[in-house]
C-alpha cells in the first residue's frame, strides 16, 4: 500500500506540489491525470524516493521512505517518463545488471528474463545493442527491468506512450494481473481513455493541487454530469471548457 500525506514541493519559490494526499490500496490501480506541468512526474519521483519532498510523508507498506530507504526501494518498480538504457549493452545484459542490483540469484534471474522475454515479445531484441531499439521496444525493456524483481509497489509515468496497440493491450493486461496478485499500482497518464478503462480510482491534479479523487462514477457525481466520460469530467474540473472554445475558434 502507498500512503502519501501532505506532500509539498517547491522549485524556485513556486509550488510544484501543494499538500497532496492520496492512498493506493493493495490490488488497486490508481491513475493520476492532469494537464502538462501539473506535477504528476514530480509526485511519482517523490513516491519513488528519488526526489525528497519539502513537506509531508510517503509510506510504503507502513514504512516511511526515509526510514528504510534501500529496503523500501527494493519493493518498488518504477518506469520513468524518460527511461535510461545503456546504449552499448544488450537488453539481456541490462536485465542481468538490474537483476543483480535487486539481489536476484542467477537461476531466478535467468528464469525471470526468459518469462519476460516471452511475455513482452522481446526475443528478437534481447541480444541486440540497445542503441538500435525503437522507442516502443525501449519502453518494453524498461518495463521488463521494472518487473524483474516482481515489485509490490509499481509506479509508472506514461507507460503506454510509445507502444503499438498490441503491446499496449499486453501491458494493460499485465498490469491488471499484477494488481490482482496484490500489487499497488500508481500510474500517470495523458491518455484519459486508458485511465478510465484501467484504473479503479483516479486522482486529478492541477497546478500541484489535488482537485478531485474517486472512481469514474464518483467523479461524474462531483462534476454533476451523469453519463459523461472522463475527458468531459476532466475538462470541466480543470477549467478546460475555455480550451474547447479556443479550439472551436482555431478550427
Amino acid at each position: 500500500m502507498i500512503k502519501v500525506q501532505g506532500i509539498s514541493k517547491q522549485i524556485k519559490n513556486n509550488f510544484v506540489l501543494d499538500g497532496i494526499d492520496l492512498q493506493v490500496r493493495d490490488q488497486e490501480i490508481l491513475g493520476i491525470v492532469g494537464p502538462n506541468g501539473a506535477g504528476k512526474t514530480t509526485l511519482l519521483n517523490i513516491v519513488a524516493g528519488i526526489w525528497p519532498a519539502d513537506k509531508g510523508s510517503v509510506e510504503i507498506d507502513g514504512t516511511g521512505l526515509s526510514e528504510g530507504a534501500e529496503a523500501v526501494r527494493q519493493k518498488i518498480g518504477y518506469v520513468p517518463d524518460a527511461p535510461f538504457l545503456y546504449p552499448k549493452l544488450t537488453g539481456r545484459e541490462f536485465l542481468s545488471f538490474v537483476g543483480t542490483l535487486y539481489r536476484l540469484d542467477a537461476q531466478k534471474l535467468d528464469q525471470k528474463i526468459a518469462e519476460l522475454e516471452k511475455a513482452l515479445e522481446l526475443s528478437f531484441w534481447l541480444d541486440e545493442l540497445m542503441d538500435g531499439y525503437p522507442r516502443g521496444v525501449r519502453q518494453k525493456m524498461t518495463l521488463a527491468g521494472m518487473l524483474l524483481h516482481s515489485p509490490k509497489i509499481v509506479l509508472l509515468d506514461e507507460p503506454l506512450t510509445n507502444l503499438d496497440p498490441k503491446s499496449s493491450k499486453l501491458v494493460k493486461e499485465l498490469l491488471q494481473n499484477m494488481a490482482r496478485s496484490g500489487a499497488s499500482i500508481l500510474l500517470s497518464t495523458h491518455i484519459l481513455e486508458i485511465a478510465e478503462k484501467l484504473c479503479q480510482r483516479i486522482v486529478i491534479i492541477l497546478e500541484g493541487k489535488k482537485i478531485a479523487e474517486g472512481s469514474i462514477a464518483e467523479l461524474r457525481a462531483l462534476a454533476k454530469s451523469p453519463g459523461s466520460n472522463l475527458e468531459d469530467i476532466f475538462l470541466q474540473l480543470t477549467g478546460g471548457e475555455k480550451y474547447s472554445e479556443l479550439l472551436k475558434h482555431l478550427t
Partner: protein, 553 residues
Amino acid sequence: MFAFHWFLIQLKILKNAFKEDKKGFFLRDLWHTFIILCGLVLLYLFFTSMFRFIRLKGMSTFDFAFLFLSFSLVVFLPLLFYSAVVCSLSFLFQKEETFFYFSLPVKRVSVFIVKFLQTYFHTAWMTFLGLIVFLAAMQQSFKVTPWLYLTGSISFLVFLVIPVCAAVILVMIVSRFLPFVQARGMLTVIGLFVGSVLIAAIRVMQPERLVTAEGKMQLVTYIQNLHKPWMTVLPSEWVTNIVFSQVQHDAEGMAVNFLSLCGLAAVLALLAYAVARLFYERIWVDAAVVSERVSKKFTWQSLLAMFPASLRVFIRKDLLSFYRDTVEKGSIAILIPLSFVYIYSVYLLNKQIHAVEEPIFSFLYIYLFNFFYSAVVIAGLSGRWVFPSISLEGNNFRLIKGAAIPLKDFLRAKFLLGLVPLLCVGEVLILGSLLILRVQLPLMLVSMLIMAGLCWGITLICLILGMREADFSIREPLDFALSYKGFLCLVWESLFTALVIALVGVPTTLFLSKGASSSFLLSIAISLIVTLVIFRILYNLYNTSLARLAKSL
C-alpha cells in the same frame, strides 16, 4: 557492491563497443592511443636526455631527478584540482544515468562513490602515465629495482586522490549554497582562466630553448633554486620522498612519508564521503529540476535584421544556444592564451629578425611564420567550433531537413557564424603582429586580404568536412573535434595553409630577389590561376557535400 557491479558493466560496455564497430574502435581509439604513446615516448626521451646532460656536466643526477619530480608534482596539484573540478561538474550531475541509479535499491552514497571513481579516473590517468614514464627513465638511469614501479605507482595513485577529493568537496559545497547553473558557470570560468594563465606561463618560459645546452642548464638551475624548506609539508614532497627512499633503500623514510600521504588522502576521502552523505542527493536533485528563466529581449537581436528571414532564424538559434551555454561561452577564454602565444611568438620573431641582415630572409620570416602562426590559431578555433557544428544539430537535423527553408540557407548560416568571428580574430591578430613587426601600410593591406582568404578557405574546408563526416549521434563537440575525423580536418586545413603560404611566398621571394621581373609576373599569374582553381574546387566540393548531406539520415 554497487561500485563493483558498475565496474563490471563498464567493461561489458567497452567490449560491446569493440565488437560492434571494430574498424571505428581501432581508428578512433587506437589513434588516440598512438598519439598518447608518442607523447609518452617523447617524455621518456626528454627525461633520459636531461639525466644524460646532467651527468655530462658532472652534476648529481639524483638531486636533479628528486627536485624535478617534487617541482612537477607541485605544479600538477592545481592543474589536477581544476581538471577534477571540471570533471566532477560533469559526472556528479549526470541526469538520466543518476536518475536510474537513484530509482534502484542502491545507497545514494554508493552512487556518489561511482561518480567519484569516474571523476578520479578521468582526472588522473594521463598524469599517472606521465609519472610512470618518469619512473621508467629513473629505472633506466639509476638501475634501481623494478619494485620502484610498484611503490611509485601506489604512491602516485594515493597522491592523485588528494586534488580530486578537494575538488569534489569544493564542487559539492559551492553547488549546495549557489544555484547549480551559477556554480557550474563560476567554477568553469575560473578553471578556464587558470588553464589560460598556465598556457601563457609555459609560453613565456620558452620551452623551445630546451633543445640547447644553455636552455637545459637554465632549467636545471631554476629547479635547483626552487627547493624551499616549506615544501616538505606538501604531499608532492611526500611522494617524491617515497620514490627516492626506495632508490636509497631507506625503509623508514618510505614508511613515514607513505603514512603522511595516506593519512592526508584518507582524511580528504572521508571528508568527501561525509559531505556527499550530507549534500549529494540534495545538490543532484536541485541540479536535475532546475529550469532557467531567461530574458526575452536581447538588444543585439535587432542587428540580425540585415539577414534574410531564412538565414536569420538559424543564426539566431545558434547565437542564443551559444550565449546561454556557460561552458561553450566560457570556452571562448581559450582565445586569451592562443592570442597571447601568437603575439608573444611574433614578439620573439621580431627580436630574431633584427639579428638577421638579409632582407629576403627577414621578409620570408614575416610571411611564412606569421601566416603559419595565425593559421594555427584559426585552424584550432574552426576545428573546435565550425567542424562539429553540423553534427551538433543531432536529431534536430531531421527537423531542419523537413522544414520549408532550403538546406543551403542552413549551411550559409553555419558558414557566416564560422567565418565572421574567425575573420575578426584573424585580422586583429595579423594587424597586431604586423604593427609589432613595423610593416608598411600597403603590405599590411595585402596581408589582411590574404588573411581574409585564409579564413574563408579554412571555414569552408571545416564546413565541407563537417558535412561529409557528419555524425548526428555526438554529444560533446570537443570529442568530435578530437576524433580521427577532427584530425583529418586538421590535415586538410594544414595543406590549405601551406598552399596559401606558397602562393604568397614564391612571388614575394622572386620580387625581393629579382624585382618586377618576368619570372615575378609569371609567378603572380600562376598564383592567381591556382587561387581561382582552389576556389572552384572548394565550391564544387561544397555543392557535392551539400547534395550528400541532403540525402543523409
